[in-house]
């Protein structure tokens, strides 16, 4: 299966990426290539740079790229605005989805979906057509329609926020989704809903990066590759068995690997 994947062009190429915030280096040469249909998991201790990597790929303005490149579908996107990246098909599922008081979730989802559709030269949806579309997508994450009339993420429980993220992913149909600790704060049932949602949305053309601490999400969605990050670098890459090994040996094991390098 893997060899077949490699025949196509990569979706995302992160090449020797270094980045800092407030002159503090966070990433120190990360390389990662994602082909269509692949699922990558990135694991590592808090503060190892996992979340930063995801934010930089999405274009967060607080980080400076000091070296290296990010390529999306072969094009260097280092200087792209976050909205351009999103429109062209990069999706970041937030670890802590942001609350936006006063802005209705439905309107937010519609504007955002239309921004993506516009990029794809698809017709923009009016409120009625969008209502139909969103109704279908709600089923994927088993969310109630009532969520749509509330303000974006405001007063949502942790699980509801995460499901709202996956709902956005379902609507935006990204080429690549980077899901930053989407599993944290979820109970078993919610985790299953989220995981099955991710599986339903992804296909042979999309790429997924799962950032996680825990094996339990990877039990639901089996990755092709597992990368272990420490101190701003990917220090080890392997198959899904690496996650199990990590679960057994703990991060102390990777700490020792860092010392060796």
């Amino acid at each position: 299966m893997q060899s077949k994947m490699k025949e196509s062009e990569p979706i995302l190429e992160v090449e020797n990426l270094s980045a800092s915030t407030d002159n503090l280096p966070i990433l120190k040469g990360v390389s990662l290539t994602v082909y269509p249909g692949e699922i990558h998991a990135i694991m590592g201790r808090n503060g190892c740079g996992k979340s930063t990597l995801s934010k930089i790929i999405a274009g967060h303005p607080s980080y400076n790229i000091t070296n290296g490149d990010i390529k999306f579908l072969g094009e260097n996107i280092n200087s792209f605005e976050p909205e351009e990246r999103a429109q062209s098909g990069i999706f970041l599922g937030f670890q802590y989805p942001i609350e936006i008081p006063g802005v209705s979730n439905l309107e937010f989802l519609r504007v955002s979906t239309n921004a993506r559709r516009k990029f794809l030269n698809k017709e923009e949806l009016d409120t009625f057509d969008f209502e139909e579309l969103v109704q279908k997508k709600l089923e994927i994450v088993k969310m109630d329609h009532a969520f749509l009339s509330r303000s974006v993420n405001q007063g949502f429980s942790g699980g509801e926020k995460k499901r709202n993220e996956i709902l956005q992913m379902a609507l935006l149909e990204p080429k690549i989704a980077i899901l930053d600790e989407t599993d944290s704060g979820l109970d078993i049932d919610a985790l299953r809903i989220v995981a099955s949602g991710i599986k339903k949305i992804s296909n042979a053309q999309t790429g997924i990066i799962l950032i996680t601490h825990y094996q339990r999400l990877l039990d639901e969605i089996e990755p092709n590759y597992v990368h272990v990050m420490a101190d701003g670098k990917i220090i080890k890459t392997g198959g899904s068995e690496l996650a199990l090994e990590l679960e057994k040996k703990g991060y102390e094991w990777t700490d020792n690997l860092v010392k060796k390098t």
Partner: protein, 480 residues
Amino acid sequence: MVNENPVKDVVKEPYKYGFVTDIETEKIAKGLNEDIIRLISQKKEEPKYLLDFRLKAFKKWQKMKEPDWAELGYEKIDYQDIIYYSAPKQKEKISSLDEVDPKLLETFDKLGIPLTEQKKLTNVAVDAVFDSVSIATTFREELAEHGVIFCSISEAVKKHSNLIEKYLGTVVPASDNYFAALNSAVFSDGSFVYIPKGVTCPMDLSSYFRINSGDSGQFERTLIIAEESSSVSYLEGCTAPMFDTNTLHAAVVELIALDDASIKYSTVQNWYAGDEEGIGGIFNFVTKRGKCLGKRSKISWSQVETGSAITWKYPSCLLLGEESVGEFYSVALTNNLQQADTGTKMIHIGPKTKSTIVSKGISAGNSINSYRGLVKMGTKAKGSRNYSQCDSMLIGDQASANTFPYIKSQQPNSEIEHEASTCRISEDQLFYLQSRGIEFEEAVSMMVSGFCRDVFNQLPMEFAAEADKLLALKLEGSVG
């Protein structure tokens, strides 16, 4: 990709109503004295009681001091350097719109307020005021069928003198404050509305105020009377050309609601605000007050204040009638070097009166935006209630917001509730919206609209959409 401080200063969208209409005008000499007042009154062929009203007000004004308690800073206004009457030259008596100078019609066309029969707005009657005079009022016959009077105040003085004499100055007395006294002495035109008993006004009424000349002030006066069990929704819009001098606008609006009557008064104020350096712009000193005279009467103010270099405005309600209701919904947006000191006064006099205040202040650029409000429960206001909510939103790190709520209660059996909050549009919120493909500017405007939603919901439909667009326009380039 990296923007050191993504939420910062200001580049402003050019003001699209800034054109000047080249038209021959009749102006009187600059300056203010008794002779000028007599001249204005004479030009308008006013009865003696009105001249006396003006002269009395002028005497009071001369003894008064310009208020300085507001959070506003501006160079002293030279009241002798202002022209108090300026009117486009036209035929003495205009019987139909065909006789109105086409240039004037064109002006209002350009402002989106077409007046001619073919083009006029459907279901909104418009009174168009240009500098000191009313140009035209649409739908008069249709309104007359319902007994509704909607005309310029000058015309009302001539045709409905009994109503003017009975009500003018009863809500805002000439001695009320410095700018009200000035207005009472020199007011030139404005709108008059009378809704007879039991009539629900069949359409929205609207006045559109246009300042055209740079050196004359606009002092309009509006009077709305709603008889028993009647109701009306009134809209007010304002624009002015761009001049590098400041133009004074000192209006007085009086509303009177009798038993079971209701008046809804909505304003979208978009006077020229001056440029980025704060040169030019309208000084907007306005006294607006409604008197809920009757039982169960209701007066509701909603305003979207986006223009003017300076806004000094406190639309208020005197709640006299038992169970009468006062409401104030406000969005005030300031950008660049604009200053706004605005709010309301809810004076509870009668028992079981109720008031609601919802104020949303948005300050961007280097602007100052203050809410100032008074809630007073009089000795007889037993069982009365007030709820106030004052929220401020800051955009960038140079703008400031203040809230000055004053509360006076002489009645222990009354409730006053006040909530206030301040927020800043955070980088994380913006990034979240952007990371969903929403453009930066649109993200800001979505958040601002969201912040103002409680107030926009109160505006008449066509106004709400306009207000939303206006805010987006005003904020364009204010961040980023």
